[in-house]
Assembly symmetry: C2
Homo-oligomer: 600 residues x 2
């Protein structure tokens, strides 16, 4: 049976030592976020997720969700009780706004929770995760009346939320939506259509489920400009918030999936269900993107979370399983064989996982901070800088984070050899669960196009230029420190490859936009590597200072410096190869007709 | 429901135009292998695998194998009938030796069969696949009496075979084997112990199952030098080959696995079972390696096969599913959206799959030819050259072929978006099935060490030097052809990276063997890329000649040239990055103690 222990020490290091959360104490919501408080929250989150949520991961996968003939869905054994404890402990309210009953703590701590919860049990984490996305959209765009009615109950966890975008004919291309919304004349709308792949679409955890549904008004433009967003509650609440009449939305089926079995992925049928408009008519996409952006960061964290839990279990196996001898001679001659840990190829996969998870954790938590600084930083220029950076890096955190997170989960399964392929050992579940994160909330190819087609060009490239300059500046500053000079030098070079690739797009995508599309995936990966490198430089600087300052936990900081070096040596070289692939352009990629791909 | 069509045109191209099988008509077994005959065999194999075997793939995955309380195992519905047809059609005898009832055709055609059969249904293919491995060992090492008794019935498919290496405490490290063989005094041995992960270990397809079992004699050296190989039949045959008494071997359990559900992976308990020695006492490992080498090439083909069938289904979806618009403007303005096929990132994944599968098919079939030339070529120097090359490239075909095959299967699932995660669409099964090939028959890290630790150094590097020279020679020859010059130039450069990496090992692995271990995985991947590049150069040369000669199927040859260019632009750049990773050595990889990996 796999196990999970929250990486509390590392999260504390990032929050308190790298991001230095305390320095923002002057900003609203950060007043109480002292280092001690962050430490306490992180420790308690770690205990709760490891002790209450993780034990339900394998059993939830095995049992899955059950749809009953009346359309109701029950979650796996133990989920209701665990969810009750989750709400009672107040974890769902952690970084929710205080005016609606949240604790109003920094998002960074909310992101720590997302990672721990997802590592413990991704399918479980999705129930509150989807609710958070719905909360964000309602908070940003719904009327004060709708906010007052829905937000407190969603934040407390009494009610949950969903996102309803996909239809059978319509995934990425939301212009193809067919679900209709017809005004009832009383301010409400009658919603009719079929939505598919609705995570947490129907279940037994909450008293009500608040569906956020994209639909088209009669005579709306037949494109993404004609989409509106509606709240469609499963039970229609009265003014006091008591769920009443059952709305005309029902679960037609739950999907059989490769993984995340314990989350109910539903076909939802809307049959004239009563809905309330969120924001303005035909402006639903803007509201939906608020959910999507929050959700994309959350999905990036899922990539990290599955890599992390798989890594922990691979470390345990590598320490315990004995097979073969160290190449340099028996490490433990008194035993019949050495632990797997002595083999360089096993170590390669472990170090790769360590360099990714620790770097990615820093990038994700840094991202959580930028989300908030974009709103709350003291000056307009600071707010804009944070908003630029998180806008630029959201597709990278999602796309690179989940691509690499999946790769790491696969490698950790590999360390288990044949035993990794056996269901009962749990490693294969991490791989199956990690796989979905590359697909949902915008498949990673969509993330890459968002990055290259939208984020690079926004404001005349302001965000990406700022990113380049920041990385170069940090590299220049680090070069004088002998323990960081190699990383700084290699990172500067990788940043140069990224700049060159950007320049190549500028010169070649105007005449042929396929040249941007052809290199988008590679570009997203270079930027992921560079962003992680930047985080390793920051961690490295903290580690050097801690060692020089005589910090007590020397082994922890020494490991950071070794891992930073590993990152420099094994991650950064890919940047050059990726640039060369980008510069190959779209010609050989796009030349063949579809017939050339047919099997004969 | 996924579909499968055998890539007969491409196999024919490789066998008849690239490898030119007819040129070997002077060698034993090749006499009848005319181009027409090869074409007929390939077409018929294609029909049989697509029509009879492929339809059982998804249902077999869903149903799996069933172990009954008496220890017997039934395969999924339809498997018995399909296996009967497989035997009756004589497919199992294709390249088996004529003296024992085989058709004695070239191995190359046997390899075509392996690919088609595995694409159609990997779990099914493993039943005859394991039998083939057992046949190879018996043919090479068993006494004439055992050969006469077992080989004809195994070749006809009446009896099947298994390989019994793994035990709970012993995977890669066969020195740890505990299964005991005690002489009975009548020339037979009593075998006692537990074997795990035995593919096709117990089932209802054949009248008998011939287990090849590694065990230790009393007082044998306690290392790999003390291992012997035994035949242990499920039913003990009389001299006429009629299965009689049930032997003391039983299936204790079947494993629950991530994939290949339709193959019964068994725990086999030997309780004083009667066994017959194969070869000499304590020399079992040599015999087992004959099976392993054949099996490793077969597993490399599995990587290809899952990539191929996943690719076919991704092509179909990309042509049919409409979502979004081409970046260069609507491709089909009369429709509401363009097919996925117009999107560069979709095309990237399809071209990547096309470049891999067609290159890998060529490499695998080339490998099948070398196996036979190593035995049968007219001169000793030709035999040695073939033996050197296939010895060198066997771990590459297995390790690179399955790593990249899995990656391609994952990408093909990605093209299906959310629908790729749904069980009923079948894409996720290809991923789950492909995953095992990276693990069994020596995990890919073991392949990498076989390559770097054993194959490079053998005969003072004779094989690898010959490989380098051959690639350089072919590059030099191709540079004068404008349509191949770019590929030739880039391949020469990649070959240079491989040479530099080899030199680096020579200079740095003697003082510290971990430097070889640390780079082994990367080295295997460079060599995979270079070997595929060599095959693309050969295919390209054939395509140029065909076009110049006015061949009728112009589109086919043109597609080869475009794909060769894609390969040059998108696969070969990785060689440089991989070399740089190798040259980083083992220092940062091996420096941390196990405690540094523990979660705190």
């Amino acid at each position: 049976m796999p196990t999970y222990k929250a990486p509390a020490r590392d999260a504390r290091f990032i929050v308190n030592e790298v991001l230095k959360l305390e320095q923002y104490a002057n900003l609203p919501g950060f007043e109480n976020a002292t280092a001690d408080m962050a430490e306490t929250v992180i420790e308690e989150l770690g205990k709760f997720t490891a002790e209450v949520i993780a034990p339900l991961n394998a059993s939830g996968d095995r049992q899955g969700c059950t749809r009953h003939p009346d359309g109701s869905v029950t979650t796996p054994d133990g989920f209701r009780e665990a969810y009750r404890q989750f709400c009672e402990s107040g974890w769902g309210t952690l970084s929710a706004p205080a005016e609606f009953g949240g604790q109003g703590l920094p998002h960074v701590l909310g992101f720590v929770l997302e990672e721990f919860l997802c590592s413990a049990n991704q399918a479980f984490a999705m129930y509150p995760g989807l609710t958070n996305g719905a909360i964000a959209a309602i908070q940003a765009k719904a009327s004060p009346e709708l906010q007052a009615l829905y937000l407190p109950r969603m934040i407390s966890g009494e009610w949950s939320g969903t996102m309803n975008l996909t239809e059978p004919q319509c995934g990425t291309d939301l212009g193809l939506i067919r679900t209709r919304a017809v005004p009832n004349g009383d301010g409400t709308y009658a919603i009719t259509g079929t939505k598919i792949f609705i995570s947490a679409g129907e279940h037994d955890l909450t008293d009500n489920i608040v569906h956020l549904v994209l639909a088209k008004l009669p005579d709306a433009p037949d494109s993404t400009k004609g989409i509106s967003l509606f709240i469609v509650p499963k039970f229609i609440p009265d003014a006091a918030g008591v769920p009443g009449e059952r709305n005309a939305v029902s679960c037609g089926a739950i999907e059989h999936k490769m993984g995340i079995h314990a989350n109910s992925t539903c076909v939802l049928n809307y049959d004239g269900a009563t809905g309330w408009l969120v924001g303005e008519e035909n402006k639903g996409l803007a509201a939906m993107f608020i959910m999507m952006n929050a959700a994309r960061l959350g999905v990036g964290i899922q990539g990290l979370s599955q890599a992390e839990v798989a890594y922990q279990n691979a470390v345990a196996y590598a320490a315990e399983r004995r097979q073969g001898r160290a190449l340099t001679g028996p490490a433990e001659p008194e035993e019949k064989a050495d632990p797997l840990f002595v083999h360089p190829d096993v170590r390669r996969m472990l170090m790769d996982a360590k360099a990714f998870t620790e770097g990615m954790r820093t990038l994700a938590l840094w991202g959580g901070l930028q989300v908030e600084l974009a709103e709350k930083a003291a000056s307009e220029s600071e707010r804009q800088a944070a908003d630029d950076l998180i806008g630029l890096l959201t597709p990278v955190i999602k796309g690179y984070g989940t691509d690499k997170g999946f790769e790491v989960a696969v490698n950790m399964q590999q360390i288990w050899g044949g035993h990794g392929y056996i269901v009962e050992n749990g490693m294969e579940q991490f791989v199956r669960d990690a796989r979905i994160a590359m697909i949902y909330e915008g498949a990673n190819g969509v993330q890459a196009m968002d990055l290259v087609g939208r984020k690079l060009a926004a404001n005349m490239g302001r965000a990406v230029q700022a990113f380049f300059a920041l990385v170069d500046e940090e590299c220049a500053a680090a070069k004088s420190e002998p323990q960081l000079a190699e990383l700084a030098g290699r990172l500067e070079k990788a940043n140069g490859e990224l700049k060159a690739a950007t320049m190549w797009f500028m010169q070649n995508a105007m005449t042929n936009p396929d040249n941007a599309g052809a290199g988008a995936h590679h570009y997203m990966h270079i930027m992921g590597i560079v962003a992680l490198g930047q985080m390793w430089l920051r961690m490295g600087a903290v580690a050097v200072a801690a060692r020089n300052g005589g910090a007590s936990d020397a082994a922890f900081y020494d490991a950071k410096l070794v891992t930073a070096r590993y990152f420099a040596e094994r991650f950064l070289p890919d940047a050059g190869a990726l640039r060369r692939k980008i510069e190959a352009g779209s010609s050989s990629m796009m030349e063949l007709p579809i017939e050339a791909f047919a099997t004969a």
